[in-house]
Symmetry: C2
Subunit: 516 residues, 2 copies
């Protein structure tokens, strides 16, 4: 018997088996906070949302965009939208209005859900149905379904698109990564298996839900009836308080979150307060692995289990996992941390190989369907039946993947992809700029940070601060250079192509990798 694998499976089980359990502890103090939402209520609200979308005339297959930090309403939307045949478009709320307008327009979203804090900034972004998530305007959309009421039947199709997640690539404009229900389902199951998600867990949402659907972890933990604590903003001290207060056992985050936690833990220790979660908490980190010293500190100072994963939005995302096997138990912490600072081994159902130029290629059911309405880009990314990650790497003994460099011109800062080209395009619009190269340089807190190397026009009179401010008016702030250096010229190949590896080299001296 074949039954379509759809993300609705996860909430159906969570609600049926764990109905009375808390599903989501919404961020307190936000407008219209839903407080504690039980699994029964989460299901009822998701179903209610699907019914409300029916009533708005939003057909199956239509796109519903959401611009919001982590919130109970985001969790409801994962299931209320995707679970009933529509396509969720989770948008990075840190993008600026123009960027979000582009995504809403490009995805053809007929519904745009906006967090109150973004409402003013997005005032001029048009959408057929634009609804502010303030607990008032959206009251009907997020109400529980009347008992027994059902939305229009969706037959279920595992090859249907569940979400389109826009990501910055090598081009100036973000691309819409189409993840199918099958992608999401199998990612959730293998991720849940590898990280041993069970109904004894308590999950903390530190990872943004918009980011590759929170890596699919919201699906996995929902299937197991795991209570989920919403954290709207990353704040190390607050993370520790919630770990303590809710008995958190599992969380995911970018390296920047880890850095914030370690700083907060330091303060706690100085104040003689205990670190919560010791001996029980697993923290899953992706993006670039943190320095091995950081891994060592997590395990020795916090007493948490560190798990490294590697993947991309295009891979739903789980490609590899590095969870220390028993063989490493006797190894001294510092040496062990070095073994843990590698991308990891292929997850169940993932095949990896490296191409001729060292590019990491992946073949798996977690690999996306294509970029929304970008046939050429999709064909290039999936050429030969393998997904081209754009990362360079090599495989060490025991099938451990190590990512050594990025082939694509992307900077990853605080877990966010930033297109160098996009930032360069912006700076080229400034009248003082003759030439520019934007590169990622190592940064203690963010992994990498954006640096612009600029050649000025003759007679131009402009400061670093002017150029940074110019960018901040036009781009999301996290994309803007944190430093600018003026150069006399930039090295190019014979064909005129920028030799970025030469520009990056001096900043990465003493590092094992050319990415962070």
């Amino acid at each position: 018997m074949k039954v379509a694998l759809t993300v609705g499976d996860f909430l159906r089980r969570g609600a049926a088996v764990y109905g009375g359990r808390p599903a989501v502890f919404d961020e307190p103090g936000t407008p219209g906070s839903l407080g504690t939402v039980s699994y029964r209520e989460l299901e009822s609200r998701a179903r209610g949302m699907a019914i409300a979308l029916d009533e708005l005339g939003v057909a199956h297959g239509e796109r519903v965009a959401i611009v919001s930090p982590n919130a109970a309403r985001f969790m409801i939307s994962f299931f209320g939208v995707s679970g009933y045949g529509r396509i969720l478009v989770p948008v990075n709320y840190r993008l600026n209005a123009d960027e979000i307008r582009y995504i809403v327009d490009h995805s053809g979203a007929s519904v745009l859900l906006v967090d109150p804090e973004s409402a003013d900034a997005l005032h001029d972004v048009p959408a057929k149905h634009k609804i502010v998530l303030d607990g008032v305007a959206d009251a009907e959309l997020f109400a529980e379904a009347a008992p027994g009421s059902e939305p229009a039947a969706w037959p279920g199709d595992e090859d249907a698109t569940a979400s389109i997640n826009y990501t910055s690539g090598t081009t100036a404009r973000p691309k819409g990564v189409q993840l199918t229900h099958r992608n999401c389902w199998l990612n959730a199951a293998t991720f849940g298996w590898h990280t041993a998600v069970s109904d004894r867990d308590v999950y903390l949402h530190t990872l943004p839900m918009f980011h590759c659907n929170g890596w699919g972890m919201p699906y996995a933990v929902t299937a197991m009836g795991v209570p989920q604590v919403v954290q709207r903003k990353v704040d190390g001290a607050e993370i520790l308080r919630r770990i303590d207060g809710y008995g958190v056992t599992l969380m995911c985050g970018a390296p920047a979150v880890v850095a914030a936690i370690l700083s907060a833990a330091e303060l706690r220790r100085e104040a003689g307060q205990p670190i919560p979660g010791a001996g029980r908490l697993r923290i899953v980190v992706a993006g670039a692995p943190p320095p091995s010293k950081t891994i060592e500190r997590i395990e020795t100072e916090l007493g948490w289990e560190f798990i490294q994963i590697y993947g991309l939005t295009e891979t739903a995302p789980l490609l590899t996992i590095n969870r220390a096997p028993a063989e490493w138990d006797g190894i001294p912490a510092a040496e062990r941390a070095k073994l843990q600072s590698r991308a990891g081994v292929p997850a169940v159902g993932v095949q990896l190989r490296t191409g001729a130029d060292g590019e990491v290629l992946a073949r798996s059911n977690v690999v996306f369907e294509g970029y929304w309405q970008q046939g050429d880009e999709s064909a290039a990314a999936l050429a030969g039946g393998w997904f081209h990650t754009g990362d360079k790497g090599h495989v060490e003994a025991g099938d451990y993947l190590v990512i050594s460099d990025r082939k694509k011109d992307v900077i990853i800062s605080g877990g966010e992809n930033i297109s160098s080209v996009e930032v360069e395009d912006c700076l080229y619009q400034h009248p003082a700029v003759a030439e520019v190269a934007v590169i990622g340089v190592p940064d203690q807190k963010w992994g990498e940070t954006v640096k612009a190397l600029v050649v000025l026009r003759d007679g131009a009179d402009v400061t670093d601060g002017d150029l940074i401010a110019f960018c901040r008016e036009r781009l999301a702030h996290f994309k803007c250079p944190s430093s600018v250096e003026v150069r006399d010229g930039l090295p190019r190949t014979a064909t005129g192509k920028l030799q970025k590896f030469r520009l990056r080299a001096p900043y990465w001296e003493g590092y094992q990798r050319r990415v962070n």
Copy 2:
């Protein structure tokens, strides 16, 4: 991207990531025991087997039957046969020659692999290629592949049949349950997830591998590089010795295995020896749940975690799982054991409902494709898009399924399905028998045992022992009645159908369920 889910995925990962680890500790002292087989060697031998099958002219899609207790060669066959596009037919080695002949013939197996202990008994069972697993005749079939050599390419198809597992149903002849690669893959992933199989486990094969492919656990543990201890025969004391010697953390078994372990543990305790596995071992039990007192003893006397599952060969098998949630932690052991003695909650991806007559119906990707060459039986079993389990049950709060009775006329003794009709057919061949009804009655050790209620012909002169001996000449011994009662008549409906529930009732007084 869609990639066929095939069982080969599991060994590919096991060998790539955990190549140097022991995969299988073969039963020592058996003819041609392979000793300790590493994951690299397991993969190489499985690939070698596929190459040998190529050379024998066994095409993709052809059936390879295996009659063997647990053995390293059985593990190799799961992957060497199914992993490369052929269909494995694991046969219950406790069946007699006629029964096995029927299965080999019905499945059209071109290869028949026979354990040395069964070789004499199966001397007259014909097969195109009949190979005894003695380490000599089968040397080529189970040799490691030459470095770099590859079998004929199999493109991989998740809808292809991976195995045909013959099971006794309501009819006299066993039916061949066709499990697809998708069935097996998703069962392994959800089973592995729910039982938290990880690379820190050590698995003991107490469950027969022929039995629904060892419930698919061999696939799941192989994916995670788990060392697997082969146990050829169930022996409580030996099980405890191996748990101790190998550091076993996970095992599966029928209730009869549990009973054997508890007896052996009792002797250990009396001898002042410690019980191994306390605080680390999880034991997964299916078939009928053991009495709650047994569950309590496993958790309190052995210190093992008890996990109950429910399923059938037709469901690959995982339908429900009962693993105590945190909510039960404070409950007194006896009361808690009662909660644990229920079939459990639906596994991820399983939908259950009860039909009008209380029959449990299942809809899931773990539900089989159909019975091999039995179109009518298949259509009936899958009528309306739901699998008809033949078990009666009800659902309690928290979505807990409780199996209360068996709709189909099947007795489950020591984890084996026994068709009442088949035993009745046999007894009807005895000249002294006028009428017969075969039922299951409760049994401390086996869960249920077979009882024959017989009406004799006028003037017949036959003892209980004669009738049992008559059966033992014709049927596998585990199917034969352990007791016979002579009656004057048997209750029938107006249409002449036996009213078995009335016959069973007196034996089940004081039991909550009508099945064990």
